[in-house]
Each structure stands twice: as structure tokens, then as C-alpha cells.
Assembly symmetry: C2
Homo-oligomer: 262 residues x 2
């Protein structure tokens, strides 16, 4: 009997934002190889008898091979292996590289899509990603290379001047990015939001302008949303308290007394 | 007692690709207002006692108001209302407009993100949306306005020349779009994939070049993926039979009997 590998998107962080399929294969897995963007809450869905290990990149270490060799070994041994990745496996998750290795090795696999971080962030923060008359396009990119002004300007130059931009990024170089955006012609007063730790209990949302980027609160992992849609933010539940009231299992529960209870 | 409205992303079509939260609130809803992009399979998750109605746009009719008045009325009557939308509510779903009306009306609501169509299509078709050395960016747009060559060229002109483009669109004007892309400088031999009815039992994937766009099989709703990543497609699953065996392709899948059954 051959094993099988599911490359699974874990979504933005909240375990309820896994897909039904992701939750099912995760609970049934013999082996779970996860990366650092997967939240601890999601990992709690793994069966206690499963073997789990991290295959995350470590800062300062060389880029690991496209696919951890333990994954191949477990699949060859007949195990049900889940390769669990933050967000969606096909967006900045190296899922494509891993699939290619599995294919070359002749190991059967499937990809389970997930809610990418921008969508989780937008839902929590109440920011539409497209909106009639405001934005008809979403660009998802990563600003990891924007570490100094020169690189940040090169990056900013390639960004579209229309629609909504969602940047998946660390939080170390926001001031540089803000300066680069302005120098490359983005309006200093252009609205931005930083959604930190989107959909997790300690999520926070900071709204400001491009010129203010370096002063906005940001905690990794963060999604930077740039565009006029940010100014259209409506009062969806941004505060943890509101989330706890309306989302979680006890969540749809009355604010303690009145809200509906699915 | 006030009601509550969940604006819920139903994902790309397969009911297992709803989020755990979406499935939960859907099963518990008193009222479900759905649009035409929501698959019949997803609607089967609704409780039989719930009231359901379509609020989809109809071809040839004027654009309906931002929020169907029945949704407001039911919420005011204390009901648990789910506004169910294809994909993610914040991308081409008018979710932002609906949220704004609910906010203005003082009706408590929450947004449940979903797997947007591009991610479902990419997972099923085995096409990475970003890939190191190939694409570092995903642009999501809609080509609905590209109905004649002039409009299509205007649209094509605004598209980025790098990264991956996912177009959410009808299937009526593919030949025009292909011609417009070439006239605006996209390479005729540039790889494209059309994923029709992604993640549904009758999903199909057609791969070709920009020049061939008008001759590729397309069935609505379709996602057009444009970019060098298409050439990196690895054997994930297109056929319905393979889907039943956990998305593996004929190439990758074990015989049905051998596949693990979570």
C-alpha cells in the first residue's frame, strides 16, 4: 500500500477557517509536517497519535530543499502524510515546488486549497478587496526583498497604480517600504491597513497612510493592504472581543444574551 | 432579540472547500440568501427547515440594490441569516457593499472568508500561482467588460507583464480577449489554462496558448490563469474520478482501492 501526501492550506490562522476537507485530512493524518506560519491552534486539530514535525525555514540558515526528505520517507512507508502550510499552498508557500518533487518521486498527492492571508485579514478588518467604483483588481505580492531603500524602490516601481495591493511580509522594513512607495509616486496620504496576526486571538488592525507606514503597529505575520478600499472599511468585527462574540463556537452565542446561536 | 447576518464565502464549489465556520453557520441558519455562483452541492448543507432564496443578478435585468431587502427584514425579525456568496465575499462578490448597508442599518454582521476561485482552480489543476524563479505575484481581476476588441484592449493594457494573472470571467469572449492580449504585447505563445467549474464534479482544465484562447474549452464559471506558471503544471487532478480519490491525477493517484480514506 502506497502512502499519500496532502499538501494542505491551513488558512490564515483561526482553526475554524480551515476548509472542511483540510480539517478532515488533518485529523486523520499519521504524519503532519508543518511550517512556521501554521498557528498553534490549528495544530491542536492533529490527532495525538500522529507524528508531527516542523519543516520551517530558520532565519540565517540556508534555504532547505524543496521537500523535506522525511515526507517522502513516510509516504513510501505507507503513511498518510499532511504537509500543512499557512494560507493557501500555492501562494508563497512553495507548494508548487513540493508537488513537483512528489510527482517526480512517483508519490501520490493532492493539494487542498486554503483561505489565503489577504482574505482572512480583509474579512476580520472589514476591508473589501474589490469594490465597485473603487477597486476592480487585487494584487498579491510579498515585500520580503524590500530590505533597503534601493531594493524597496525597485519593488515599489513594479506595483500597479490601480486596484488593491495585499503584501505578505515581515514587519521589519515598513518605514523603508513607505518611503520607497512615496518616492515611486504613490500618494503619501494613500490609505493603508496593517492586519497583524489576522484571525488569531491577538489580531490587531492599524490604519493610516503610506507616509505613516513606519509608525503603524505591526506584529508578524502581517498583511499590508494598500489602496482606496481601506478608506471604505466598515465596522466588521476587528476587535478580539467582537470576534469572540460573533465568530467562535461559543461565538455565535449571545453577546452573552442576545445574538443568535448557530 | 436582534438577528445576525453572516456574509459567507462558499468557496469555489466543492462543499468540502467551505471553511469549517462557513459549514457551521450554514447548517444553523434560519434564512439563506444565495447567489448564482453558489453550487447546488453547497446548498445541500442548508437545514431543510431554513428559508432559502436566490438573490442573484439576472442577465438583462438592472443591477439589484446593494443588499436584498429581505435580508434586512429577516435580520430585524431576529433570524440568523446567511448571505452565501461564491468564493470569498470580498472579491468580486459585492460583499463590501452589503456590509456597508448592514452597518448603516445597524444590523450586526460578520464576514466569513472563503477560498476564492483562483485558489480552487489552481489546486485542482496543479498550477502553482506563485513559484520561485517564475512568478512572485498574483493578480486577480475580472474580464467581464472585455466584450469587444476595443474594451478588451483597454483592459489588456492595464494588466501586469509579470507574475500570474487569474481572470474571473464568463466564457463568451475568449477569442476577443486572446486577440486583445496579443495586440497589447502579450506573447501569442504565452501559456494559459482555463479551469471550468473548478472543484465541481464536472470540472475541466484546458491548457494552451494566448493565441489559442478562443479555441479552448470553457464552461462557466471559469477561471483563466495566464502566466509562465501554467507551464509548470504538475500532475494534480483534473478528472472527476481522480477528485473522488483525493484530487490525485491519473498520473499520481494510486488505484482507488489503495487510497487512504480519512
Amino acid at each position: 500500500v502506497s502512502g499519500f501526501v496532502w499538501i494542505v492550506g491551513a488558512g490564515p490562522g483561526d482553526p475554524e477557517l480551515l476548509t472542511v476537507r483540510a480539517a478532515r485530512v488533518l485529523a486523520a493524518a499519521d504524519v503532519v509536517a508543518y511550517d512556521e506560519l501554521v498557528s498553534a491552534d490549528v495544530l491542536e486539530l492533529v490527532d495525538a497519535r500522529a507524528e508531527t514535525f516542523s519543516v520551517g525555514r530558520r532565519a540565517g540558515c540556508p534555504t532547505p530543499p524543496a521537500l523535506d526528505s522525511r515526507i517522502v520517507a513516510h509516504a513510501r512507508a505507507g503513511k498518510r502524510v499532511v504537509r500543512l502550510k499557512g494560507g493557501d499552498p500555492h501562494v508563497f508557500g512553495r507548494g508548487g515546488e513540493e508537488a513537483r518533487v512528489l510527482h517526480a518521486e512517483g508519490i501520490p498527492f493532492a493539494i487542498v486549497p486554503g483561505v489565503s492571508a489577504a482574505f482572512g485579514a480583509a474579512a476580520s478588518a472589514g476591508i473589501p478587496l474589490t469594490l465597485r467604483g473603487v477597486s476592480a483588481r487585487l494584487t498579491i505580492a510579498t515585500a520580503h526583498e524590500a530590505k533597503d531603500l534601493e531594493h524597496a524602490r525597485s519593488f515599489a516601481r513594479t506595483l500597479p497604480r490601480e486596484g488593491t495591493i495585499a503584501l505578505y511580509m515581515g514587519v521589519a522594513h515598513l518605514a523603508i517600504l513607505g518611503e520607497a512607495l512615496v518616492r515611486e509616486g504613490f500618494p503619501p496620504e494613500g490609505p493603508v491597513a496593517i492586519v497583524s496576526r489576522a484571525t488569531l486571538p491577538d489580531e490587531s488592525v492599524a490604519v493610516g497612510t503610506i507616509a505613516e507606514l513606519g509608525r503603524l503597529r505591526a506584529v508578524a505575520p502581517a498583511v499590508l493592504i494598500l489602496g482606496d478600499v481601506v478608506a471604505e472599511r466598515v465596522g466588521a468585527a476587528a476587535a478580539p472581543a467582537a470576534r469572540a462574540t460573533f465568530f467562535a463556537s461559543d461565538a455565535c452565542a449571545p453577546p452573552p444574551a442576545a445574538a443568535p446561536q448557530p
